[in-house]
Symmetry: C2
Subunit: 163 residues, 2 copies
DNA sequence: ACTGAAATTAATTCATC
DNA sequence: GATGAATTAATTTCAGT
């Protein structure tokens, strides 16, 4: 499925997607065409989902992160679907998880400051009924990466060898 | 600093950085050259920090997210520097925040399953001394985006404004 | 599956207004 | 500051092994 070479290609593209295909090929010991084909296939297969520009949170005035732990009394699929639809409308919510344990949902919210968070919070609870909310603020983002670990990729199936 | 047109360009590039400059120009009502110049400038200014390929967590076998809340007794700058260096070596840690409130640090860790998290955890505590650790697992990632909200950008005319 | 070259399309520069 | 053409560099296709 994803072999060693693919993994090295992914590692390069996760770090910098502007590296030319010919250069990626050179680094992994492949000429342009097969390297391009591998990238193409990983896009078709949905391994690579998108290529995006990453912005500096400070420069766009959204450097404060709030983690919002939400507990609710409603646990139906229908409620979650509605809740998720509301959440998706808020560009401030950059991550949204359904949790195991006491907390039901966790949001990561990107805002300029505490006041803007407070405003966001009011707009949120006006749209959706949530029982209990607990917010924690991050003082500093020490590490943030879109790069996923590639070491857990399941090893390529050994090819059947005739002869 | 960042005007309405820049903002629209950022919005496009945050969503899909493969859109050709000529097409971006067309969408924002600009011809290729000035549009290209604006993008170039935003890269120089550090507004756009990088262009990356985003992968599907399921496809690379890292779909489980663990949130690790860490409390420590050591609060010196030196300890944090060392701690941060250790953390940066773990590709499983995709986000790392210094928090306000009871919890000192929060990690988001990407792993295939609970067993892999346990292994990661052992490797982590072997490298760094942390007093209290509380882990919560996400059952489902309902929303994840690298797109930051652009509505908080302050459109400033005057020059010489840092960060 | 890969190579190397050709064809196509995009990025980048430049002359000009 | 913007435009449109010219140039450079990349992507994508194709013939051959």
């Amino acid at each position: 499925m994803i072999d060693r070479i693919d993994r090295r290609i992914l590692s390069i593209l996760q770090e910098d997607s502007t590296v030319p295909v010919a250069e990626i090929g050179r680094r992994v010991g492949l000429s342009t065409t097969p390297c391009w084909r591998r990238i193409q296939k990983m896009e078709e297969d949905g391994v690579i989902t998108r290529r995006v520009a990453v912005l500096d949170p400070k420069k766009v005035n959204a450097k404060v992160t709030a983690f919002v732990a939400i507990t609710t009394n409603e646990h139906t699929d229908d409620w979650l679907r509605k809740f998720a639809d509301v959440i998706r409308e808020f560009p401030e919510v950059v991550e949204f998880y359904r949790m195991a344990g006491q907390v039901d949902y966790l949001l990561r919210v990107a805002v300029p400051d505490i006041d803007a968070y407070d405003d966001f919070y009011k707009r949120l609870i006006a749209k959706v009924n949530i029982a209990d909310v607990s917010t924690s603020f991050a003082m500093e983002q020490i590490k943030y990466t879109t790069e996923l670990p590639l070491s857990y990729i399941v090893a390529e199936k050994p090819k059947a060898n005739m002869s």
